[in-house]
Subunit: 143 residues, 2 copies
DNA sequence: CCTTACCGTTGGGGCACCCAATGAATTAAC
DNA sequence: GTTAATTCATTGGGTGCCCCAACGGTAAGG
């Protein structure tokens, strides 16, 4: 039996956690050039995808707490990337939309995020990257 | 071009982050049965591995901030899993050692963590698990 | 000596995650 | 149709992990 720490560090959960942390940092640093945090970026992307959408819908799709969604959208709105308008059909809801500035930032972030991903996967050949994605996809979708 | 959110969620960093989050949760739930958090477990294991060791050494080996190490060791010491004794050779240092109780907890946590890892990897065959580990290891050690 | 560096501790802050409660507004039940 | 249950956005807590700065006490180098 290996020693306790070596045992932990040989577990897949530890290894995948380390790789995820590095990837997270790479992407975070990349999109920081556009002044966005990871979750802000994700919310901006989801807003662009689902057109005028209520905050609660965004929260459900991204598994973001309503409390945190308020702060994220406040930042995006202050940066002029997103608009909150009252929904005439349901006055409880805020209809969130992306501004042209937001779409431009989103386009630039897409390239930045891809570059960060390439850097993470740089040790792997294209075929190996595909293998890794296939295995991770099965872990993610199977349970 | 895919839509913005689909683009993000197709990136390896997103996928590995998701898998890591699930694995993290599984292990955290497992060792919570022993009253330990993930970092407390790691520090306890590192303490067992490196015998009497100074806090700063533990922090360097696990990349834990000295401030956080104080709290972690406070908890472990309050739980009777670890001892802090002044180092006679260097009175700045605390010689941290594991108690018999700590070793017992560590043994039980090892089994719990392995079970959690098996659950995470359950969709994969043994050979596929090996492939995944090999690919992740290269991503982790190469850069 | 005396400067330099380290040790543990305390103090900040930020980000991601989670839970509870509120008032306003909508929907469902009766 | 009035009432009860639900949903919405917001505010209020809290935790874990990460990073930086400062402090008194200690050790090592010049």
């Amino acid at each position: 039996m290996t020693s306790p720490l070596q045992h932990i560090q040989s577990l897949p959960t530890w290894l995948v956690g380390r790789v995820a942390a590095r990837g997270r940092g790479l992407v975070a640093d990349a999109i920081a050039a556009e002044g966005l945090k990871l979750m802000q970026h994700a919310v901006l992307a989801a807003t662009a995808e689902y057109g005028p959408v209520a905050q609660a819908d965004l929260g459900r799709r991204l598994a973001v707490d309503p409390k945190d969604m308020v702060g994220i959208l406040n930042h995006l709105q202050d940066a002029g990337l997103v608009l909150r308008a009252p929904d005439p059909a349901d006055r409880r809801k805020n209809a969130v939309t992306v501004t042209p500035d937001g779409e431009a930032v989103l386009r630039r972030c897409a390239a930045l995020a891809e570059a960060a991903n390439d850097e993470l996967l740089s040790p792997l050949a294209p075929q190996e990257r595909q293998q890794l994605m296939a295995l991770l996809t099965r872990l993610h979708e199977a349970p």
